[in-house]
Point group: C4
């Protein structure tokens, strides 16, 4: 089975998610700076979630450059990842509306953790499909960043019980770490140009 339609469908869902969040930004009722201020905070929250969806799109893009064939398990693992990500506009809006209250910040972290786990499961589904010599498995290697991120989310979730800002620091830190795009697949494709 070809990967083309899976990539197109995922691109569609991610493109929608990344754009509908801005619909949650409440348009100020007055043409004043005071009325705009809550939207500016909302804008920063939206930026964080925009970056997260961008990171997942980036990594998804890299992953599927090394995937040649898709089976049912990969299709559903991919839908699982899309489901977790489709909740991001909801948890983002709650966090923003309540101005970073404790529970919403915890729930946002759980959402990020869920997406990370779903990505990991997708990777496992590809590994299993391709066998021990699969291209992706070789390219991913030790995957330090991928293995640490969930633990930083857990720290952030726990830290939110002390102060929501500890949670936010953790979530922003992971986003920044991933903003450096994942060059492993890139480098791998480059080094193994013959296989491509």
């Amino acid at each position: 089975m070809r990967t083309g339609r899976l990539e197109a469908f995922s691109d569609g869902v991610l493109a929608i998610l990344i754009t509908i969040m801005v619909l949650e930004l409440k348009v100020p009722e007055e043409p004043t700076f005071e009325a705009l201020r809550p939207s500016l905070v909302g804008l920063l929250t939206y930026l964080l979630s925009f970056v997260y969806i961008g990171i997942y799109w980036n990594n998804h893009h890299h992953m599927f450059q090394l995937v040649r064939h898709v089976n049912g398990a990969i299709l559903w693992a991919n839908l699982g990842l899309l489901f977790m990500l489709s909740l991001v506009p909801f948890t983002t809006a709650w966090m923003d509306d309540t101005r970073f209250a404790q529970l919403p910040v915890v729930v946002y972290g759980i959402n990020l953790l869920g997406a990370a786990v779903a990505y990991y499961v997708l990777q496992l589904a590809v590994f299993r499909r391709d066998g021990p010599d699969g291209l992706l498995r070789q390219a991913v290697g030790r995957d330090l960043k991928g293995k640490l991120s969930p633990w930083v989310y857990v720290l952030g979730i726990l830290g939110s019980f002390v102060s929501p800002w500890l949670g936010m620091v953790a979530y922003v830190a992971v986003a920044v770490a991933w903003l450096v795009p994942d060059r492993r697949a890139e480098r791998f494709v480059h080094d193994h140009a013959l296989e491509d």
Copy 2:
């Protein structure tokens, strides 16, 4: 006529449907667990409809791997299926808002039944276009799951008049049965690799 644009358009519509449902989830007004609770029920309802759209995307994907040419009847049968599916966010929201009251659960079942019939009509349009030796007709075979599902929906609709939960059980059961992806097309492509 090529199938490429029909697949791209269908992917677009299905990607939008699967993501806009989350917009129906009402963001809680308070940062408390009590305020979140109705959203958690809504989340499960959303998950069910997400899985249903995912199933249709999956099966649509498999179907069009065995369709080489498209005519006007197939285009409109496909739009008929997309129309039925585009009502799912509406019926899902009604069912969720009324907390699974009887009529909305019946209407949700009718919606699922309509989608199943539309899928069946699409299949017939492909059969007719391709003649008795068409690839899809050979691959679909007896199609037990496809033939039973509408009857389970009918049972669920009738059961909802006793208790809406009987309806929900039927709808969840069909979704679970289809979560096992439809391997017939996959297997067929594999077995007839020469024809591909």
Copy 3:
């Protein structure tokens, strides 16, 4: 310039238009048949607009099978058509909310007329780009249906001043006439198979 991205972008816009209209359908507040009734009328209105967007997608699809190269004029004529069609959810919602009052029905007709004119302008832009021997010009031929539709819209708009239902009859009639998909391009591609 290739037509691929223009088709992909148009498919994206049309897929979004055809699905967001259902968001305008107000979810009934009570789980009763009385509460559902206005939504059923809305559903029929939505169906009409769904069919119209479907017709444009169909014809757009056929048109661009006979277009090999795109220039700036074609890009902007295409955006003009997409703009006219992007107003359909707005005019549909107004017509539905006011239960087919006179002015909204007139405005809906003007919207359909605008889309028909924009489609015609797009066709002219392709004709001009391809010269007198262009494939599309040969395939379109006399284009009776395309030339009559705008006049039926005008009749409908004028008729709405007598009774909105005269307008609706005209709009439904044109939709039905086009539901029979436009086989000219199809037949032409088939007859001139060598050129393809």
Copy 4:
């Protein structure tokens, strides 16, 4: 890395942006011309933003015809452009709701300026990736229009402090200047047909 998925994702986001703005248009509550009037002003505002998104899609389309390979910096520069453009529905709605009050018109100009800067950064990322002999760098040439537009936005933003209408004139003027599509890439591809 191929440009295909980056183009598909960008098309998806731009297609959504260009269509969701119409959702901001408030459907009049009465079927009267008086009730429609504010929507007509809104329609003109929507048209301006529609044209701007159309211009960016056009230029993006032209740019990526001359880009063969994509790296991490280009991916993120592209996401930066999409982020700036995704704010357009928000700033458009605020400007329209407040009927072109001073601050919203200033903010709209800042948004346009931000998008222009992001486009420029994206161009620089491509230049750096392709080296001094890159196709895009040759095609873009002096890029007078690209270099002047930001300054006209700045003039518009400053002018808005005198009267918002000065700002609007500046924004409309830039849009009109770009409506003439950017033929440089087109001409370049044509002149260097051998390289293609």
